[in-house]
Symmetry: D2
Subunit: 325 residues, 4 copies
């Protein structure tokens, strides 16, 4: 079976970790690099969370972690720590032996795509600062990427960080706009709403069922996503949300997608009121399409899929403090 | 039965006419004035449409029509003539004897509310230029209005004139923002989407049934809304839309409303991309509430209600060219 | 000698008062109305200052004072009280008998220009809210005004309220932009910088000389402008500034102008950083000219002119508390 | 004599070339790299112009030329080719043997400053895209630069590309704002107006005198700046302008500066009207100072200085087509 070489660009916390697990453990995936970008929680914590994730999968040291941009292009960084806590689920591993790659994330993105033009895909599940910086440095970058899947925005629906904006696009709206207009040949968007709310939210019973699969990954999942589901329930969302892991899943298994359309997508950069809002214009407006927006997925199949990932037996490289064995 | 004194502020075309009919013929309504504002179609055509509507109800000359602002506060006027044609349904009446009030719409709004502070309600079913101008001239205006019902915006859902903006707010976003922030004590919003699409859209069979009631008003309705339903169907909306008449209906019959919530509503004025978009922030964001946004209505009851209005037997004051008798 | 009929639109404080004196006492002037707009200091204080000015000229009751808009079109009112104090120079008169016109300033502007289309000029020496509101209500207003002189903006030079913006345009930038784009046939601008700094600033010795002319008006002048000259000197301006009285002077005596050019003038409304900044594009840019910007005046002649006004003997209608006789 | 190690970041055309000559030939200068950024003319032409300049100085191959960002961060590139033509003065050299460094300009900026933290200065005489990108990749970059001299903006005075904006800041306003707010410890600005117009413009007689010095560099100068002086004269500027060479000169010879002040400088990014305008707020506004703005230089000494550079005898490495010997 041919595999899909990919890079995951991530602000690693909660569901970012599950997304990385899918990239690591799905047999069709060939994860070449993890590139870190400022987003959910403090940068060092994000890096630690990425190591923690590799470790619980028993894959520490097999995939390079590249540090990237620690702030948005133009804006001050704003965290989502009210949602995520520190995003670690209270877990930790000894940090002495953990090392990241020397190469900057943006350089890694440029080099890896230059080494294999048209072959690598990218799943971007944080703010888009790294990708935008790669584009600014090299306007040929976009043409060398096979498929870019972006978790971001909402499809004419509610936001999460403000009434109209989703977090990833909100944090670095200029980066999002640069990426969306850069001419990627195959650009797919997993919007926060309504898609992930309707098709990729696991009610607590389902969430608990995944947590009880008996593997280290299942325990890890249950701990990592605990803060998310608590927060979600407090704001009226009935379950844990999985936009990031869904984004990896739809790259690796396009058959999960049951509806999608071409849209012209722009991100608001001119207004504070609507900062980061994604305007997704459908065919009525006859604008040039720059993205395929995923409108529906097979939620049950996605749940099965994640269950399969989490059921994978693994041996953590290092003992995980806080994770019951 | 005590009646509800009201003013309708309107860019009269299609469903604006039906809204005026409700204001004229509903026994609980006491329509004091019609104030005209630049919006859907050419200003003179709008005035003609208002006369035409009074005439078909047999009420020509009983309610003053006040000419108001012929352009938005700051923007160039943009029509919706692609949707409405000239908004007359191809109907006309002899214009020689038709006269409007001498008084400017803004003056009428200021005077009528000053004469009966706290008693009059306003249903605003066009761009909000007249109301904003009244506020600019007299910052006490808002406090003298009993209830203001605004047809405008979308509730974290699709727009109609752009992907994110509804027409009335789009045409004069600054006016909309002035009105929303002016401190009206009882401000209710009928948003375009999802409300009027889900609960106040009549499929063609229903539309035709109303048109076949056998009265002059029923024939008038069927002609006036023909362009709307054709356009709607061409863009994937399954029926004729009735946001303006719904706005009058919810003022006169609040029991039609089955769900509503307090929101902080702001209108985008800083960005062309999102010009006129309504940001409706729900309770999660802890912002000061400035409007009750109607979230659901009893669509069947509203259909019955409009049917009752249109079944009212009337004798047009002047013969209507184009209307079969 | 034919006279020049004019209206002064003013946020009356300090030099606004001197401008009104010129409009009252210059034999070529026929001052028809004073219209009040929110600006320098509290609205009631401004009205009081206008009465005070009429009184010291012995003209109380001869020119109507119309109350106008008490806030900018869209913005919250911001005062210049750090510059002006209350703008009264510590003077006051008994207020019991003072009355303003019933008619709103905007209505007065509309009515007076409609009664004598093409004959009246306006000198606007405050924020442009009243004029913009008149335009919003009646798009024919601009065509009925003979000459409009605006004190506002800077000509590619320093601002005073921010680094880039002059106070009048800053307070209501949208109004300024509406007025500038409304199609006035003869629109002349007196910019704050460099014009009034280079050609209409009186060093303290000159200021004191005017104050020592021995008339009630001279004493009034010296008191009214004391706060201005103190402030000016504190920010490095060597003397008292007279943009408002200069604006009346150039209408009544165009020969004071020694240089002027056609410019395309726009006012910044989209950015907080440059809020209210006037962009004055000279001929290089080939943009349609909408204003004649005054670039130089005969400063000595203007000083002589003001001296002549202030030397006029007058008998105040009411005794002025605080003014030595 | 200790030398000043520096990098010149440039959109090489006309006076950029003269700036490079100063960096190459001034004995106090130690030019470590030339980094290219999109600006005045086509990118390849700019690179060719840089080689041409090194060649005429007989220094081809001694200073690396690094290709940098070929477009602004967010905006489409706009040229100044109406001013500069192709910026080559009609000169050319055989291109076969010319090579640029492999390393990207942004990488070079990051590496060189990391190798000698606190030692290198940068003179930025084009749009600030490269510097902003370096900051985005590494937030520690600014702290490693000794002195940054920026040619850009105007000090409350006229622009050149629009009425209010100077070209370098206009082309990439977001980059300019990123750089200005990045915390450079010693940031000096050479503004277009009034400084370079009043103190660094050479009337045609002076320009011709420099061109007649009899060296290859003098002939080169006269050819390279011919388009500039022709354009300048066509828009009312009496001579050839030298903002870029002045910027190098003030780094190498601070004694040329006769007046400067600390300002808070921001660049307009939110408005198209004022795109790229530099707001320079002086002490009155009590804002945190982020730049020393040069307000006056000894123009005669600067002219002498440039004359000295151009009088330097050199032997071009390759024959220059179009340059009389
Ligand atoms: Ca994420
Ligand atoms: Ca309407
Ligand atoms: Ca004033
Ligand atoms: Ca340059």
């Amino acid at each position: 079976m041919p595999t899909i070489p990919l890079i995951i660009d991530t602000d690693t916390a909660q569901d970012d970790c599950i997304a990385i697990l899918a990239g690591l453990l799905d047999p069709v995936a060939d994860l070449r690099a993890i590139t870190m970008v400022a987003g959910n929680v403090g940068f060092e914590q994000q890096v630690a969370n990425a190591h923690l994730t590799l470790n619980v999968a028993g894959r520490l040291g097999t995939v390079p972690i590249h540090r990237g941009c620690t702030q948005p292009l133009l804006r001050h960084w704003e965290s989502a720590e009210d949602v995520h806590g520190d995003g670690s689920g209270g877990l930790s591993i000894p940090s002495d032996s953990l090392v990241e790659a020397d190469e900057h994330a943006v350089q890694a993105l440029l080099r890896l795509t230059a080494e294999a033009p048209g072959e690598l895909s990218i799943v971007a599940i944080g703010p888009l600062t790294n990708l935008a910086a790669a584009i600014v440095l090299d306007r040929g970058f976009a043409s060398r990427v096979k498929t870019l899947v972006i978790m971001g925005g909402s499809n004419n629906a509610r936001g999460n960080i403000t009434a109209s904006a989703e977090f990833n696009f909100y944090v670095d709206p200029e980066a999002a706009q640069v990426v969306l207009q850069a001419g990627f040949g195959d650009l797919r968007i997993v919007p926060w709403a309504p898609l992930t709310l309707s098709d990729a939210t696991f009610p607590r019973a389902d969430y608990d069922r995944l947590g009880a699969l008996g593997t280290p990954l299942a325990g890890f999942y249950h701990r990592m996503c605990a803060a998310t589901i608590d927060y979600d329930e407090s704001v009226g969302i009935d379950g844990s949300t999985h936009p990031d892991s869904l984004s990896v899943a739809v790259l690796l298994h396009p058959e999960l997608v049951t509806a999608e359309s071409g849209y012209r997508v722009d991100v608001e950069t001119a207004s504070e009121l609507n900062r980061g809002m994604s305007v997704m214009a459908w065919e009525k407006f006859d604008l040039p399409v720059n993205a395929q927006v995923i409108e529906a997925v097979d939620g049950a199949a996605f749940y099965e899929y994640l269950g399969g990932i989490l059921a994978t037996p693994t041996t953590p490289n290092l003992p995980v403090s806080g994770l019951s064995s």
